[in-house]
Symmetry: C2
Subunit: 272 residues, 2 copies
């Protein structure tokens, strides 16, 4: 499995990916799942990041096709990642690469009982446009992040979702969002063995067109150790601070034994 998450905030974008790949429980590898495309200056100024999950052979093939395949823009001009005008067009190129790989390999995979399974997060900024973030599916179609839903996850998404839902809004500062992504990753690492270190973290500042703020973190990284140790310990503290349910005292500060006004208690069955 894999866990990747990307958040679109007012101040920028955060991308985080793990690096574990497995084909069955006894076949684990480390593969990196982040690709970065950067053109810092000039008329084609852009910074784009791709995160991939799913079948590794498919996602590597998609990346290869994406890097080499040019698509006609409808006016006879060949268009690729480096000269497309908008991030929407770039996402379409990624989708087209997915479809090319499906045409090439889909039938053989199906014959071997393997689903055509790939999930992609693609986002960034192209000069002249606002930042954009897309979630691209196995069919090559995609959805875009909005103010209401400002993040995407792919792979093993559920363990790490509650913390993001609780703390992130588009107003969240970039560094806080990066911290939240790392906590979300830590919860996933703790509950699922098939997600693993090292992690690739990239924090993009709006209008910077720079991928400079990026780091590969393993278990020795002091900041990741802080997250891992402090978060777990503090969660336990908070857990202890909240009063336990009290079955006896109906006058407790937060009594448990208030009957529901609309729903009956489950009746108890007995032998007689």
């Amino acid at each position: 499995m894999t866990y990747c998450v990307a958040l679109k905030l007012n101040d920028g974008l955060v991308f985080l990916s793990d690096s574990r790949t497995n084909a069955g429980m006894d076949n684990f590898f480390t593969f990196r799942k982040m690709s970065i495309y950067e053109e810092r200056s000039g008329p084609q100024q852009r910074m784009m990041v791709m995160l991939t999950a799913g079948n590794l052979a498919i996602s590597q093939a998609v990346r290869q096709v994406l890097h080499s395949q040019l698509v006609d823009d409808g006016f006879g001009n060949p268009v690729g990642l480096w000269n497309c005008r908008t991030l929407f067009d770039a996402a379409r190129l990624v989708g087209a690469a997915v479809r090319t790989v499906q045409q090439r390999d889909g039938e053989a995979l199906a014959k071997n009982g393997v689903d055509f399974n790939v999930g992609i997060i693609f986002g960034g900024q192209i000069a002249g446009e606002a930042m954009r973030l897309f979630n691209i599916y196995s069919a090559g179609n995609f959805v875009e992040a909005t103010l209401d839903n400002c993040y995407f996850q792919i792979g093993e998404t559920k363990y790490g979702k509650p913390i993001i839902d609780r703390v992130v809004t588009p107003d969240t500062p970039l560094d806080e969002a990066a911290k939240c992504a790392l906590i979300s990753m830590d919860s996933t690492l703790k509950s699922n063995l098939s997600v693993g270190l090292p992690l690739d973290l990239l924090v993009y500042e709006r209008d910077s067109f720079s991928a400079a703020q990026r780091i590969c973190m393993d278990e020795l990284n002091p900041y990741f150790q802080l997250i891992r140790n402090t978060w777990g310990a503090k969660i336990k503290d908070v857990f202890t601070e909240i009063e336990d349910p009290d079955w006896k005292d109906p006058k407790a500060a937060h009594p448990l034994l208030t009957r529901s006004t609309r729903h009956a208690e489950i009746s108890v069955l007995s032998a007689t």
Copy 2:
């Protein structure tokens, strides 16, 4: 969907279930997923609880069959929930009921493209035995909780797993474990619309053979409100307390910019 969780502690058992059922996104119902079997005294003294997830028609049929079907014990004696000797035998009765329903309905379901999908948690105590807790699958087979893995979840299990993994061990007191189950449920409710109130909570004290400590909680229950409001707020406090990553200062208390000793940074691609 559904979310049910049961924990086996040294002091007793905790069972918690939601009550939302849906057949498609526009077809939601409230159905309770907990069944309680209690014989407080006498030679057949016992307290057993069943939680069900999956296809509602199947789980209701399983419950019906379980209540009426007697199985030969191998010596010509009819055995049911109320006279079986051990909780292992009771779990086998539940598994037999699942198989009876599969024989009855499986073919027709398959013809209609519906999987035979049911998940059951079954646990309790029968006099003369320690408490036991089982997770029973669609095939009617099952696994038992151990000291290493002292809880089971069924239905929408992932959102609520990290908090249990962080705080629960077999030594956890009963009320704390109930609190943890409610927080786990709250995280699930927050991340998945198809899990819903009211909740049924039952806390069983070891050797009591009583199901007296049970409650149906809806959104007006003061203790559930405490969990919902306090946990979310305190998580945010803890989140804020942890220092943000610092991209500039390599001498920060927990520097982010320590390069991994074993893994290279992702290289950045550029057009040229």
